[in-house]
Every structure is written in C-alpha cells, then in structure tokens.
Amino acid sequence: MVLENFPTFSEWFLPGLVLFGGIVLAAILLGLFVGYVVASFRHGPFEAFYIVAQVVGESVPDFLGTSPRRVMAMARLAVKEALRRKVVIVAFVIFAILLLFGQWFMGGTENPEKRFMNTIMFGTQLLTLLTVMLISSFSLPEDIKNKTIYTIVTKPVRATEIILGRILGFGFLGTVLLALMGLISFFFVSRNLDHTHAVVGDTQTIASLTAIAPGTEISETTGKRVSPNAVMEGETNVELGHSHRLEVLEFTTDSDDDPNLKAPDIVSVEDVDGKKVFRRLVCLPVGGHTHQVTVSGTGNDAKISLGPAIGYFRARIPVYADSVTFLNRDGQQDEGTNVGKESSYRGFIDGGNARQRSSLARAIFSYSDFTPDRFQNADVIPLEMTLGVFRTYKGDMQKRVTGGLQFESVPDNPEVENRFVSEIVNFETNEYQLQIRPVSRKVIGKIVAPDGSFVAEGEYDLFDDFAANGKLNLSLSCRDVNQYLGVARADVYFRASDDVYWFNYLKGYVGIWCQMMIIIAMAVAFSTFLGTPIVMLGVLMMMVVGFFTPFIRGLTAADRDGGGPIESFIRIVTQKNMQVNLETGVATTLIKESDNFVSHRMGDLTYLAPNFKQLDFSSFLTYGYSIDNQRILVALAITLAFCIGLTLLGYFSLKTREIAK
C-alpha cells in the first residue's frame, strides 16, 4: 500500500473552503441562470426576472424558518417508509450470505487478515451504498407520484425540511445498518483468524526441535534462512494455510534482573563468565502475526505451547518526514534521478559508478517535530522502509542492494551551532520489501563545528542531542555502485506505538459512512427533479466517476499518445500508428484544440463528483495502518460540503417545481 502525501486539515481547509464556496456560488449562479431562461421562455423576460428574484427572496426566510422538529418528523417518516420497503433486510441477508460463503475463499494465505478485511470492507461498502441508494431514490418520486406530497407541502413545511429530513432519516438507517455490519464483521474476522499451532513432531516438547550447527545461514533440514543467534529450529503444523518457524535464540545479558529472564518462553539460563546466557524459544512471524510461546519445565522434556495469534489487528502509526529532498551525485539538490516512467512518484538515489565511487547522492528526510512523546519515550523506535530498487546491471537478482542511513541534527542557527552527525548504518534490501530496522535512541556519532571541523565523538541521544530542537534529518544513500534506490516521502517512516485497533476500525467505517451520506444526499437531491430510475442511473454514474476519479482525470489529460477522442478516432479510421505525428496544418490544429477543449471540460466534470477514493480507508485497515485523524476531518468536511451543496440544489429544484403538475 502506498500512502500518499497528505495535507493536514488546516492546510487543506482554507483552499478547500474557497473551492467549495466557488463551486456553490457557481452552482447557484448557474441554477439562477437556467431558472431565468426557463422562466423567460414561459413568461417572458421581465416576468421571469421577477420570478427568479422572488425565489431568491423567499429562500432566506425558508432557511431561517427551517425547524429541527419538522426535520425530525420528516426523518422519522423516512425511516418508517424505508423499513417498510424491506430493502434493509434484503441487504442483511446478502451480507450474511457473503460472510457464510466468503469464509471458504478467505483463508489459505500468509496474510488471511488482509483478504478478510478486503473482502468484508468491499462487501460492506457495496451493500450499504446500494441499499441507501435504493431507499433514498425511491422515496421522493414515490411521494410525488402518489401525491402524498400534497398533504406535506400544504403544511408549513419548508423544502429544506423535506430534503434534510430524508437525508437524516436515511442517514440514520444507513448508520445503523453500517454499525451492525461493522460489529458482525469484527466478530466474524476475529473468530475466523483466531487459531493456534502445535509443534511438528511426536511430542510437544523441546525434544522435537533440531540443533543448528554454528555459522549456518541456510538450514539444511528446512531450507530456510536461519537467524544469526539461532541454536535450534523447528516448525509448527499448518493452520489457516500457514505454519511458523520456531527458533531457539541465544542472548547474553549483564544484569541479573533483566526482564527478559522472566519471559514465559525461556528455555534455559546459564552463568558464563559472570554474565547470564539465556535461550528463548521464539515463533517467527508470518505475514505480520505471531504466537506467544510458553515453555514449561526444563531440559528436553520442557513442554512447548503456543498461544492465540497476536499482531493481526494492527493500527500502525507512521511518523512521516515533513519533506524529502534529493541530492545528486555532486551533492546538489534535484528531484532524484529519473529512471523512467516510475519516477513521477519515487525519486531514485544514485549509488555512484566505477569512476566516482563515493556518490553524494542521497534522499534527506526532514522531520520538524521529532519528540520522544510521539514515540511514548521508547528506547528503540522501529524505522520501516519499503524501497524500490533499480539495477543498472542485473547480476544476481536475489542479491540484496545495500543502503545507508545517517542521522543529522538541524541547528536553528547553522553558522554558530555545532551539528551532530551519526555513523552511517548499512542495511540490505530487496525491491519493495518491508524493512523494519529498530533504531536505538543511543546513536554513535560525532559533533561537527559549523566550519566542518571535528569536535568530539561518542554516544549521543537521538532525541536529547540530535533532535534537541525537534528537528532531525535522516539521509538515505545507496551504497552499491551502479545501483539505485527509489524512495518517496511515504516510503520511509518511524513507527510510533500503535493506535487502538477498534478505534482505527471505527475510523475505517467513518469513511464508508461519508460515502453513504453523500450518496443519500445525491439521491434525494436528484429525486426532486428526476424519476426513480433516472436518479439511480445518475447516482450510479456519480459513483463510478467518484471511484475512478484519478483514472478519468488521467484519461482527460491532454498529452496522451494518440491524442484525444477526435484525434484517436481519426487515427483509427486512417489506420495511423499512435506514435506517428499527424501532418501539421489547420485541420490538425483544429482537431487538437477541440480535443483539448473536450478533454478539459470532461476533466472539470470529475470535480462535480465526489472523489470516493479519498473517503475510502479500507486499505488502511487491510494493511494495518492507523488512519490519520486529519484524513477523517477532511473526509467529514468533504461530506458536509456535499450534503450542504446537494441540499441547496434539492431545495431550489423543489421550490421552483410545480408540485401538482
């Protein structure tokens, strides 16, 4: 999963508000204009002006006169009506079927939790959105057709109340539906993922493990990579499509009361040269989850038991850099080496070549608020990286590429203050493999004077010394000649302690809730002037546009191979290759210009539809990331904006409509 750069709510809000205000203003002006044209068609231009002015004049008292009590009455009616339609029940039945049969397809992978989350979030989203679309696009047209609306609008009911009441009523119903589905899914997923393993072998004891000769990298018995300090290995049986590797690891400690000595998975403790040497039995994680190991007894007869799965339900909180800058080989700032199409997202760091081995190329991640409280004052902070690798020579594809990490302090006053610079720590990576590097708070490094001269060296504290002013730079370099490492801002992050899972889960559902509210508002607003089938068609179209916004915007971008709709049509008819240039001339210019125009207008249209992807947080849940509160705020603001805009649309269209026609 790629987390894109994301503006904070406050950064987003003002431009967003301006955009929203602009759109609403444009919509109102357009609405008035269309209204005027229609009215002048019917009543002549002067009368029409009077009519439009009257509608506008009446709208203000209508907004002010909108009463919560009447809105609630309308909402209650909407709920009763929708329940009577039984669509909600049908949705539930489909959901139950989805869960029952989905179970068969969802296991059997290293990351069953991803597949479960994915399927369930998708199913919930689809069902909820379709259900609310159905109930809300039937309601108003049915009322108009049955003329029940006559008895409503002849009461002191404002058009706003008719619309808001429905949006709230269906919103309430949808919320209940969504909450129930969310709860059921949660229990369903946790029940299905809940499993434990037994150790392969006749006895569930240490005796079923085999010893590893010192220095082994690849185990001869299992063919798997062996941890450097492993002394014994074993395996569990297969459950839920996977098994775990068990290793007995050897550690040394100085202190007698090291908490590790009291862990439940201790196999043995020995005194060697006044130090404690202890062995622990660990269960290596598979796809992010592991099991608590408990060893009871001593020697070869010690019983091994594995607990329930832990780590499925994570809500990792990544702490991203505020910005990333790339330096080229010569240490000058640029955008990162371009290695082809991909580079629009990732910048590539040059590893140097044979002539210039010590490349200065690096990506510098700048943090401006790097404080210990963001990491719960932990001594070790996990740094997680997913890097792209671009090889200029292939050689051994399995051979990992080496990268280097270095911390630097960023003095507020670089002319007079000294700087802290850490040692470069090397690591190896394969392409797009999640690297988890524990970074200790205590960092070996040196102090450098403003003129670059050496001052001192030793062990310094990452927070208290390096980031004393909250600022820290992390530079990433490529240590292999002729290779490149690709990185974007979101690819490297420190991991703060996890968010509470159920809260994150709730936030994931808030995203679906936002989509649902927009669909309801859309269906209700459309149904003030369209019949049910057309409303559904319209909403479905908006959904498609909304879910594929980036794709459609990409389509409408002007500079594609083969040109826009007209040009491509001509190419098809004249059987021209996409790369061949058309003859220059008036005709070609005309074609290109009209293509440009059409494409831009189509691109503009996508801004009318909500970008549903921006409201879709299911991938956060699937991949176990915490959903940033900023995103939730932005999503809620977008939803509110759409609801307000659509309510206005519905209001004016209902107000100017002859109900009894």
Partner: protein, 316 residues
C-alpha cells in the same frame, strides 16, 4: 350582472392594495388568476382556469361549483401554491399563495386522500401534527379528539392501507383539521361518504363556520352545496359563470310567493282576485325558490349556447 371584467387597470390597482394594508376580512383573493397546463415542450394543452377574480370573506362557506374538468381543483391548488399561476395572482391571508408560512392557518382535504398507507390513523395524525408548532400534549389531545370526531375510534391502530374509501376520507378530513385552521379548503368533501357521513360532514362544515372559520369547498353534489354554502361560484370550462349569495342567486325575481297560515278559502280567493286585478298570474303557492340544480343546469346550458359570457368577482 357585469359582463367582461377587463383586466389591466383593475389588476394593477389590486396588486397595490394587497400586501401593505391587507384587509383581514378578506381571506382569499384571486386576481385575474389564469392557469394553462403545458406539456413538456411548453406547448399549451389545456386552459384550465381563465382570468378568475374572486374574493372569499372571513367566516363564510364558499362553494366552487362546476361540471367535471371545469377548473375547481385547479383553483384550489393554485390557492395552496401547489400550482403556479400562468398569470394573475392568488393571495391567501394577504400573502402570496406560494408562501409556506400561510400554511400554519390552512387545512386542506385533497380530492382523494393522499396519505401514507403504511401509517396507522394515530400515526398519521401524529405525523401531520408534528409539522406544526404545537406542544406535544396539545398534539396528543387533538389527535384523540379528531379521531373520535371523525368516528374512527375503533380503527385508529390499523394501517391506512386497510381502510375503506369513506374511512380514508374521514382520516383525510381529520388531517386537514389537525392544526385547528382558520381556513379550510375541501375538495369534494362528501365524495365517498355514506349518507350518515355526508350529514356529519355537512354538520361539521357548519360548525366550523360557527367557530368563525372560513371554508372553501368544491363539489358537484348540488344538494350539499345548497345546504351549507353561503356563497357560490360556478365555473364552466375555466370561466367564472356565476357568483353570489346562494339565497339571492336562487331568488326568482319575477316571482312572488306568499305564505300564510290558517287562511280561509274565501280569503285565498280574494287574493287571487287582487292578483288578477293587477294583471298577475297565479302559479301556485309551492316552490318558493328554484333549486340550485335548476340554476346549475341552466347556466351550463346557456354557456354551451353562448360561450364567453362571464361575471366579475368583485361585485358581490
């Protein structure tokens, strides 16, 4: 009776009158009210109402009469803002008919009862009650009272989908009265009611007037109209054909009827002599007035012969 009201000067002068100093005794005012139904393309389909001028005064029962399709329902819908006039104005309580605030004081019974079939009688009235500014105790009390009043106490917990036509009509009336309106617009109130229900409906309309409320009803059941209405307007193909007090409209001016009690035969003979002496013809003592039915049929017949003849609403 005045013939053609020609529009322009009277219209403007009336427009000026309306809102600034609105006369509380005039509840409804239609000024040159015209409705032309158009199709989707804006082409004219039906001229349902033609330059109607009308005033309804506070506290009276006003009847709109006319054959099917003459524009009665259209008039009521225009007065409620359910339709927008093609030209002219509909003013209710001194406000434009499209203004929602006037609805606080209005009750409307549509030609058919357009109610939510999935609600029970109680829920229906409770729902409509919530649309007004009334405290919940008042609402609950009114709901029960109205249910008793329209005689649906035995069926108040049943869904409206199970109701018969007359029962639906009754709950429709209760719905129209939920806010204790000052003006009640009834579109064919007695349709679908049994004789007893018709009687009750007429009594209720009279009672409403006694409470000082204004009632506008339309119907083609002339007996009903004659029984309850103070004033009537007769529409024919969208034109106003007759407007006035029921009693004076039905007064036959070239006839005189004399009623007396305990008159001996000699005296009767004497009176006949006197009438004869003055050149009169004795017709009889019965039928002192014509019936509304006669008037109605006569107007319809005349209108068919001489289309276009109209009355103005301002003179009565």
């Amino acid at each position: 009776m005045a013939t053609d009201t020609s529009s322009s000067e009277t219209k403007t002068s009336k427009l000026e009158q309306t809102n600034p100093d609105y006369n509380p005794n005039i509840v409804i005012e239609a000024q040159n009210l015209t409705k032309i139904y158009r199709d989707f393309w804006g082409r004219q389909k039906v001229r349902a109402l033609n330059a109607l001028d009308l005033e309804v005064k506070k506290g009276e029962i006003f009847g709109l009469l006319g054959p099917n399709g003459s524009g009665k329902s259209t008039t009521i819908k225009l007065l409620l803002g359910l339709l927008f006039p093609t030209s002219g104005r509909a003013v209710v309580f001194g406000e434009n008919a499209t203004e929602v605030t006037k609805n606080e004081r209005i009750g409307y019974l549509p030609e058919e009862s357009y109610l939510y079939k999935f609600l029970t009688a109680e829920e229906t009235l409770d729902f409509y009650g919530r649309l007004f500014d009334m405290p919940s105790e008042v609402r609950k009390e009114r709901v029960q009272k109205l249910i008793q009043q329209v005689g649906l106490g035995h069926a108040k917990r049943r869904q409206l989908r199970e109701y018969s036509k007359g029962m639906t009509r009754r709950i429709g009336l209760a719905q129209a009265l939920i806010n204790d309106p000052d003006l009640v617009l009834l579109d064919e109130p007695t349709s679908g009611l049994d004789p007893l229900g018709t009687r009750e409906m007429k009594d209720m309309i009279l009672k409403l007037r006694d409470e000082g409320k204004t009632v506008v009803m339309c119907s083609h059941l002339l007996g009903d109209v004659q029984d309850v209405c103070d004033r009537i307007a007769i529409l024919y193909q969208g034109d106003l054909k007759e407007l006035g007090r029921v009693d004076s409209l039905l007064q036959v001016s070239d006839e005189t009827s004399i009623r007396a009690k305990n008159l001996p035969a000699a005296a009767q003979e004497e009176i006949r002599e006197v009438i004869k002496k003055h050149g009169g013809d004795v017709i009889g003592v019965e039928n002192p007035k014509s019936t509304l039915e006669e008037l109605f049929l006569q107007i319809v017949r005349e209108s068919e012969q001489r289309p276009g003849q109209r009355v103005s609403g301002s003179d009565s």
